[in-house]
Symmetry: C2
Subunit: 140 residues, 2 copies
DNA sequence: TGGAAACCCGATAAAAATGATCGGGATTCA
DNA sequence: TGAATCCCGATCATTTTTATCGGGTTTCCA
């Protein structure tokens, strides 16, 4: 079970935009300097735009900027926009129901897990990430 | 972001074994009746065995049974055994650290998410699933 | 004691998802 | 007008997931 780099890239990009919030549009080229293939990131930013999380300014001196304040954008929003809704299996959505013994109990647990994960992701905003900034980098 | 069917199959199979706990080994053929390709499930059960979650009886009349009580086996155990540890990106484990601005704040959030998800998965046991059994099936 | 029932296992194939690239188009600023 | 920049569908490459194959070993039991 893993979050693909797609989500990671998108969160990084959004965090960057949050840092630069209010400073006008940021060009793709600049955002991609964190180490993402430009054209790949472009796709992801397209998803984020269509989800209403960023807005764009086209033409020279154009770029991307947050469509809402950092407080109003959650990690869950970002991941859902780029990776699609979190879902753990098909049985959740549509499937001839409960024909097999025990299946339904498993399904219940599935739903609980899905909900819990969503709650976590929805509970972290870009603002939270900005406030994290001051802390020591535990890597060094 | 999704939990692959691998994990789903494994949880279903373990739930089945929990239902049959104490009734002797259950044959692969029977477990697979819930709708999983037998040989695929066999691989998964192999992982579960190597992780110490099930034990097997070989030979005729053999099969699989839980290696511990349902209370001592969590959904997290099962998923980790079949899908490997939950990890959201590489930066978590090893990577030249924090060279890009903002990266580290994102990393912190990443770790928090990973930890939270693990907590949820570790918080649900097979016993919990068994006790769920009585509830109405919301599918119908 | 032999055969059937059952698990074990490495290899490989097929399918799907992910990651990345391409090439051209549209918009806007200076 | 031309450079900067976003837009977008298509396609390719890689990796992961899912599934199958073919043979092996162990054990029961008649």
């Amino acid at each position: 079970m893993k979050l693909s780099t797609k989500g990671k890239y998108a969160v990084y990009a959004m965090h960057y935009l949050a840092l630069k919030n209010g400073e006008g549009p940021q060009a793709l080229k600049v955002i991609a300097e964190m180490g993402v293939p430009e054209q790949y990131l472009e796709q992801l930013l397209g998803n984020l735009r269509r989800a209403g999380l960023v807005k764009t300014v086209r033409g020279a001196q154009g770029g991307y900027e947050l469509a809402r304040t950092p407080k109003e954008i959650t990690v869950g929003d970002i991941i859902e926009a780029t990776e699609g809704p979190i879902s753990l299996s098909e049985c959740l959505s549509e499937q001839s129901p409960c024909t097999k013994s025990g299946t339904c109990a498993a399904r219940y647990v599935w739903e609980k897990i899905t909900t819990s994960i969503n709650d976590i992701l929805q509970g972290i905003t870009l603002q939270d990430m900005l406030e994290q900034k001051g802390e020591k980098c535990s890597h060094e």
